[in-house]
């Protein structure tokens, strides 16, 4: 009887956490729409961005629910072929992709609709790592690590060649985080980390000048009208926000100086609009989403689900912190979006997919 009560209590807790995660995603998506609206309100610019983001959100929420309601055993069964399809997308965009801002990371199947395969590849990649780990790790941890390294290289190298170094860093760093939370030995992890850094440096060498310029802009002697321009605009936008922010529609820096204010610079743009205090609720919502997903991960009985849900939480945390750190002038510009907030259908729907799949993994034990 007590066991039954405990089980129903756990199930209720899991359900409420899952709903909280879904609601938090929707709230963050709506916050994103508001943020995009505020980047364009004064300049009477193209209102397309806001309209499109609302459409992406309206697609993203059902996508989350559908991915949630698909039983996790389906993901387990079809995870590898789906990941291979995602990998094919990431590779083929190198040849048939449409270059935007110097990066050929998008397909344009129909006029005006662009799809960024690397955003949809992220959940598939995490699923693939979890499935490979489950299959190989019981026999040999080193073999499992090697297989995961190959998978990570397969995803991150083509993305780095686009060149989208920000996403490549996400793929590589997520491998280390995945291995760490999977319980991999620390010495092996250290060795793997060193190997990844070496591969990263070799890829960066392909466009060494650009990489050096970007690092110099933050850590070295920045030319404020040259390589330091972008970083300086982040700082000036945040400074103009002060404690309480500028009035809506009075965000001079967002409107006129911040590059890609609706996308790569959306956090700095919000800091100008809402001020230091206004960004705290956003950070709190993102933290809440990550903590809820980690709690869901802890509640999973199955290790594969646990690791997958945990990795999903940390992917959102990692990408958010990278974006915010770039905007706070702590790291060089990477071109990463702020999950669920920045403009972009692929990013928004890809993140919704990830959360939906994580919720499905968290639900899996309930039925067992």
């Amino acid at each position: 009887m007590n066991g039954q009560k405990m089980e129903s209590g756990r199930s209720w807790e899991r359900r409420s956490l899952a709903w909280s995660a879904a609601v938090l995603c929707a709230l963050l998506g709506m916050w994103g729409c508001m943020a995009i609206y505020s980047t364009q309100i004064a300049a009477l610019r193209d209102w397309n961005f806001l309209g499109r983001q609302i459409v992406f959100l309206l697609i993203g929420v059902p996508v989350l629910v559908i991915c949630w309601k698909i039983p996790f055993r389906w993901y387990e069964r079809f995870g590898v072929p789906v990941a291979l399809a995602a990998l094919f997308g990431v590779f083929s965009v190198l040849f048939w992709g449409r270059p935007i801002n110097g990066m050929s990371g998008w397909f344009e199947p129909f006029g005006g609709i662009q799809i960024q395969p690397s955003e949809f590849a992220k959940p598939c990649y995490l699923l693939l790592l979890a499935l490979l780990w489950r299959r190989v790790a019981p026999r040999s941890e080193l073999a499992a690590m090697t297989v995961c390294f190959v998978a990570a290289a397969a995803f991150s190298i083509p993305v780095a060649l686009e060149p989208d170094y920000g996403s490549a860093v996400i793929f590589a760093a997520m491998l280390l985080i995945f291995l760490f939370i999977s319980g991999c030995g620390l010495w092996k992890l250290l060795l793997g980390g060193t190997l990844l850094c070496a591969i990263g440096a070799a890829l960066a060498a392909l466009r060494w000048d650009m990489v050096v310029r970007r690092f110099e802009a933050v850590f070295g002697n920045a030319d404020m009208l040259g390589n330091g321009w972008h970083v300086q605009q982040f700082q000036l936008a945040i400074a103009r926000g002060g404690w309480m922010g500028s009035k809506l529609g009075n965000t001079v820096w967002t409107e006129n100086y911040l590059p890609l204010a609706h996308n790569d610079s959306i956090f700095a743009s919000m800091a100008e609009t809402l001020g230091f205090l206004g960004t705290i609720p956003l950070l709190a919502l993102l933290c809440a989403l990550v903590v809820v997903l980690v709690r869901l991960a802890r509640g999973c009985d199955d290790d594969t689900g646990k690791i997958f849900v945990g990795s999903a939480a940390f992917l959102i945390a990692l990408q958010s912190l990278l974006h915010i750190s770039v905007n706070a002038a702590l790291l060089p510009p990477t071109g990463l979006t702020l999950p669920l907030i920045s403009y972009g259908g692929s990013s928004l729907i890809g993140t919704m997919m990830l959360v939906g799949m994580a919720l499905s993994a968290a639900d899996a034990e309930k039925s067992e």
Binding site: G183, L236, R240, W253, N256, G275, A317, I324, A328
Partner: protein, 233 residues
Amino acid sequence: MRNRIGLRMNIMLGLFGLWLLAVLVSLFNIGIFQRDEYLRRGDDIAVRQFFIPPQRGRIFDKKRTVLAWSERYFDLTVDAGAAESGEWPAIRESLAGVLPNIPEKPAAKDSSAKNIVLFRGVPVDALSQLKTPLGRFHSLRIQPRVERRVYDDPAVRRLIGEVANYDNCLTGVSGVEQQYDRTLSGVAEIYEITVDKYGNEILSTRKVLQKPRAGYPVVLPFTLEDILKANRE
């Protein structure tokens, strides 16, 4: 194994928490602690101060005949760099239907000059037609110019004296113009605007720092005829 996963997830959460703390410290530093320094840097980039010279007062004789007055003209200029660049043919083409005699190869009188005058005294009706080329080519500018006119007689001119033009601000250097310079001068309007990264004014950012006042008129205690008569004698 299960405990290890839970523990490591907690460690990861802790590490991300520390990272978030570092981000908050950086945001606080930029947005609050060093805010004034960053605002000053921003102003250096975006805020431009301008002044509009005041309208110089007119000089009348005893019967209120105007002896000296100011006239405003508009000159079309181009940045010296743009005049030598590959952009020039397109600029010239855009001006062709609006203004006559635009030179094929504009050259500055002084080699160190930043601007080259393309057309002096643009007619008022042509100003509105220039809106399109001015919007398209940021190197083109309309520069206002003020000139002092005096009643066309040598005796009157001698009495009224001369003005010098310093940055479009007229200052009396001889005759009545010098004697009543303070009264005639007025106060310039000083204002600042914020410009975007292309140097265009951002609407609604104009701030007046000094209100303008036109120069007062000066009425001389004799008539024009008296001046002419005195000159003849």
